[in-house]
């Protein structure tokens, strides 16, 4: 299941989907809005997506993860619009009979999403400046990972 949403991500519902009798391991990863990046302070993040394409890219990631690992459930949800401090911008939930697959698939999904999904983050700093994060451009040359 993949979804883009402008609302807070409903994590309990995602976990309920993943906790199936065929699974023995459930892994959830949340990317959340962090206050500090180096010494700069964030008030919120704002996310924008090329929505039709992002959904297709996330669907490809789900399909590839299900091909590579034995998964019971696989869900990827990305929030768009404003995400406040400590709020979750992305949730990846996978369940599998054994934990090796859950950890490997969860890690691969979030890494791949960050590489390929056409989604962009805008930093809102406490000094009032606002900047789009485009790794590798002058627009944003700082290392960025969460």
């Amino acid at each position: 299941m993949v979804q883009l949403t402008y609302e807070p991500i409903d994590v309990p519902q995602l976990l309920a989907r993943a906790q199936q009798p065929e699974a023995g391991a459930v892994l959830l990863f949340l990317g959340t809005t962090r206050r500090f990046t180096a010494d700069r302070e964030t008030t919120a993040l704002r996310y924008e997506a090329y929505e039709e394409m992002a959904v297709r890219e996330l669907e490809k990631l789900e399909a590839e993860a299900r091909r590579r690992w034995s998964l019971v459930e696989c869900a990827i949800v990305h929030r768009l619009g404003r995400v406040p401090l400590a709020g979750a911008s992305v949730a990846v939930v996978v369940s599998s009979p054994h934990r090796d697959a859950a950890f490997a698939a969860g890690r691969w999904l979030i890494d791949s999403l960050k590489e390929t999904a056409p989604i962009w983050k805008q930093e809102h700093w406490t000094d009032g400046t606002v900047e789009w994060v485009h790794p590798g451009t002058a627009q944003h040359s700082k290392a960025d990972q969460s």
Partner: protein, 81 residues
């Protein structure tokens, strides 16, 4: 043919538009689209040089041929997650 190129994030703000109309010869490829885009909107260059092009919601390469009616987008370096 005329194609509309969707713009996002910093590219959208640099251009001040959500789409840019570009005139292309029939049978043009992505490389020609990039050249036309650069000529039409030089202020996009710092971002466009680092961006990918998507055709019909798929990442395209330089040789991908563009057809009238294709949905084209400029994809700056992504930062979701």
């Amino acid at each position: 043919m005329k194609v509309a190129v969707k713009l996002f994030a910093a590219a959208r703000e640099l251009a001040g538009e959500t789409e840019l109309a570009v005139e292309l010869p029939d049978g043009a490829d992505v490389a020609q689209l990039r050249a036309s885009l650069a000529a039409k909107s030089p202020q996009l260059k710092p971002i466009a040089d680092r961006s990918l092009i998507a055709v019909n919601s798929e990442y395209a390469d330089q040789a991908t041929v563009i057809r009238a009616g294709d949905e084209i987008a400029l994809i700056p370096p992504v930062s979701g997650g």
